[in-house]
């Protein structure tokens, strides 16, 4: 594979950059976690630069209780479970959707939440429950699915709401002061929805430099260079590398749709705990689509995966290879925790691309 000359020059300059001290940066997006590896950009990091993973994988930060409830609803109420493919292999406290499917539960993978509405229309005799998990990039799509079900008078569709928003989580990490982060690589597509300005508090209140970055290899190199420039010159500013997609105010239409359907609520994140205002729940006007209300169940008491350190990982305290189970008891085929199976999970990225 020969790289374009300009990219090659840029990569060489990046790799050769001399840092005056050790620098730790955090990426707040699961897609960045994977893309830094997949594109090889992580392999050419300058000396003294390290990257820690943040809480940016929606499936990873979802508590076991959520999947336990989904499975219990499938069992007790016989609902068809529609989900993004990423959820299938994630271990719940006692099982997984993949295992339940093998044992006869109807679990359908969809690419878009609206496909789950179609599935409900095609199965009028069954209930279809969509597992609504994701950050701000996904929530407007899920809101549109709920609106679509209402417009088309589809009564057998509901969502199990596990949506989260990222800004309060980053604030919680900064408040906890457990990890010393010199700067942040901010998510490109979450920011496409919420806008660059939503992150201003990181620079203004916490005096940390941060850059909104795209996902192609040139974005990753350029964005990291911009962040290093800010760090090295001691400028706590917010910059946008991904100007071709992300606007200062974000996508206002998407925000409007999202908050027409959802309210913000306090919710629990794996490893971090309850973060005020960091979750989304259906507004009372859409209660008929709320699977948690529609299908009462008492899931078995949730159980953590013994030895799994996903929680520490999502707070940036360790990297995947620090987990004693990594690559031994825990592999993508036999995952102990969610961080090993989600395509955006840090353990999955390290396992697939990072083992040298």
């Amino acid at each position: 594979m020969t790289a374009a000359p300009k990219l090659k020059e840029m990569a060489e300059a990046f790799s050769a950059r001399v840092l005056s001290r050790d620098v730790r940066i955090m990426e707040v997006c699961g897609t960045h976690t994977t893309e830094f590896f997949r594109t090889g950009v992580k392999d050419i990091f300058p000396a003294r630069l390290s990257l820690v993973d943040g809480p940016g994988c929606p499936v990873c930060v979802t508590q076991n209780e959520y999947l336990d409830r989904a499975i219990e609803i499938g069992k007790v109420h016989g609902a068809i479970i529609a989900t993004f493919g990423d959820m299938i292999k994630v271990p719940s406290s006692y099982s997984s959707l993949g295992r339940e499917k093998a044992e006869g539960m109807r679990v359908e993978v969809v690419y878009s939440p609206v496909d789950a509405v179609d599935l409900a229309e095609q199965n009028p005799g069954s209930q279809v429950m969509f597992l609504s998990v994701g950050f701000e990039t996904t929530a407007p799509a899920e809101a549109i699915a709920v609106r679509t079900a209402r417009e088309r008078s589809i009564k057998n569709f509901s969502i199990l709401c596990g949506n989260k928003v990222t800004v309060p989580a980053v604030r919680a990490l900064l408040d906890a002061r457990e990890v010393n982060i010199d700067g942040f690589i901010l998510p490109g597509h979450v920011s496409a929805i919420i806008g660059v300005n939503a992150w201003k508090f990181i620079a203004d209140e916490y005096k940390k430099p941060c850059v909104v970055v795209g996902f192609e290899n040139h974005d990753l190199i350029r964005g990291t260079q911009m962040l290093l420039d800010l760090i090295e010159s001691g400028r706590p500013e917010l910059l946008n590398e991904y100007t071709r997609v992300v606007r200062d105010g974000g996508n206002l239409k998407a925000q409007e749709i999202m908050y027409e359907v959802f309210d913000t609520v306090d919710t629990e994140w794996r490893g971090i705990g309850v973060i005020p205002g960091s979750g989304l729940a259906l507004k009372s006007g859409f209660a008929e689509f709320d699977a948690q209300k529609k299908f009462p169940v008492t899931p078995p008491p949730p159980k953590e995966h013994p030895g799994c350190r996903c929680g520490d990982l999502l707070r940036g305290l360790i990297i995947p290879t620090d987990c004693p189970l990594f690559g031994r008891a825990c592999t993508p085929e036999r995952a102990v925790g969610p961080c090993m199976v989600s395509t955006e999970g840090p353990c999955s990225a390290y396992y697939k691309y990072g083992r040298k």
């Binding site: 020969t2 799509a141 597509h189």
Partner: protein
């Protein structure tokens, strides 16, 4: 759930549109970006257009990185398009 591969809008019917990249066509929903027109380059997530590319900024990147896509594995790109 998705990647950053821009696709081009080639047809619009109401809030549904056809987007294309690398010879792969996808049906997408444009409810979040009602002002897209045929020919716009867009970013897709979970079957929805989440934003359109700023033509000026996209052109600058395209010129600077014209050879970039040529070095990506086309099969890998198609797989990503089909899954997002």
């Amino acid at each position: 759930m998705c990647l950053a591969i821009p696709m081009e809008i080639i047809e619009i019917k109401g809030h549904r549109a056809t987007a294309s990249a690398y010879g792969v066509n996808r049906q997408v929903d444009i409810t979040m970006t009602p002002d897209v027109i045929v020919g716009d380059k867009v970013i897709i997530h979970a079957g929805f257009v989440i934003e359109k590319l700023d033509p000026q900024a996209a052109r600058e990147i395209e010129e600077a990185w014209s050879q970039y896509n040529a070095v990506m594995d086309e099969e890998e790109l198609k797989k990503q398009i089909n899954e997002c």
